[in-house]
Symmetry: C2
DNA sequence: CGCTTCTTTGAATTTCGTCAAAAGGCGTGG
DNA sequence: CCACGCCTTTTGACGAAATTCAAAGAAGCG
């Protein structure tokens, strides 16, 4: 629809979702986009909701988490600026498979199912972009499966941290800071361990100076060391 | 290219990959397809290979497995008749992310990258089908992540078995038989446990009459019981 | 300043992986 | 047809990593 922020179209052009589109297509994309400003802790959608749209984040951070039938929670993924989310459901069973909650004040755009499909039919490149994005996520999730099957908790936490740094890391004077706030529980849920184990591991790393954490904001001080923990076969 | 089996085009039409295509499109698809007969234990592609094609299985069974940098192996998925595989790599980094090996004598079709892209641009429905297929797999893999994070080995094996039954199950007089041969190691690798634990669990189930296994062929005799193990919160 | 939420830490318990070894099946070749 | 060898499966014992249970300490917010 409309936006109070005229810069949105330019941001859209840089998103992976709309790479390699002709300028005229970019305009159509922007014209059908819905922009929303979202305060911290807003639920963007809930697992099971049927009114599915295609979302993308302009700025801020979103936690995508899934609740099992047994009540166990897993964090599927954190979404940073420029990433799409909640879009796969448009193609599968028409219901969101997970919850989405903002971690900080955020800005999102979204498209209706009809608009997105119309865009795809007109510009097949969009569909190809979506396949590439989902394909990359599929590989990431499969890596997580491998980690969960074969690696111990400390290593998995290290991997999770590195993934977050790659995805939403911001370089500062004393290391790589992760953009959005993360509770110990979040780290645990994305590493596949418990709050307690995650806390012990992070505390140990803080004491060793590999990591700083203040107010749920994490800064990786010595990425090389974390990487060594993540990769070193001789644990 | 060509086929010594004139029935292939009809089979193609029933594959999820080509659903809802106009008949003329089906013909183009068939015309560019490469058909190959593959003996048991053939390596269709290897992790890291760069000459990527889009594959689909007509009959038989294929194991897709991934080797971690640390040498640990995970079975990503088993492919049954009608399923596509090895296709995501066409859209991502151009290298197969896993190995593919036939479990039995099989028949596959494949398309070159160029041919598939040409088809997609001409018939966007193919791209949409691919997104749906990959989207479903993404959800499946995410379910596995949740299981690995929160459930114990016995339950994960039960889930793996049910997934296999749904995907490649064949109803017989004394239960649901899984089409392709599975070693204990395969079950372990897809359940995220060890050969030993998997063996203990399956042996126990066999003794309890829930399952029969002869010559690497599994038959689920009492699906309801397996389902109870998989779902029951009170383990 | 009090309350809620998040984090840390300790101790006991347990599941599961690791190590080890033997038994069973199947095909091949003599 | 039997024997040998390879691959797969079973089973036992042990140990260790991590969950669970329990409780107290910090920190931010109203």
């Amino acid at each position: 629809m409309t936006s109070d922020l005229p810069l949105v179209p330019q941001v859209l052009a840089t998103m992976e979702l709309f790479l390699e589109l002709p300028p005229v297509a970019q305009e159509t994309v922007a014209a059908t986009a819905h922009v929303r400003r979202l305060p911290k802790d807003t639920r963007i959608f809930n697992q099971g909701d049927a009114d599915v749209r295609a979302h993308a984040l302009i700025e801020g951070g979103v936690r995508i988490s899934q609740l099992g039938s047994d009540g166990a929670q897993v964090v599927v993924r954190f979404i940073g600026p420029g990433e799409m989310f909640g879009t796969v459901a448009l193609f599968t069973n028409g219901r969101y498979p997970a919850d989405a909650v903002t971690l900080v004040d955020s800005l999102e755009v979204s498209w209706s199912r009809a608009d997105l499909f119309a865009l795809m039919v007109r510009y097949p490149q969009i569909a190809i972009n979506i396949i590439r994005i989902i394909g990359n996520r599929l590989q990431e999730v499969q890596d997580r499966v491998r980690e969960l099957s074969t690696q111990r908790a400390e290593r998995r936490v290290a991997h999770a941290l590195l993934r977050l740094a790659r995805q939403a890391g911001h370089n500062t004077t004393d290391g790589t800071a992760i953009e959005f706030p993360l509770r110990r529980k979040d780290l645990a849920d994305i590493s596949g361990t418990t709050l307690h184990t995650a806390s012990r591991i992070l505390t140990a790393w803080e004491k060793a100076g590999l990591l700083a954490s203040r107010n749920q904001r994490l800064t990786i001080r010595r990425p090389a060391e974390i990487l060594r923990i993540a990769e070193d076969a001789t644990d």
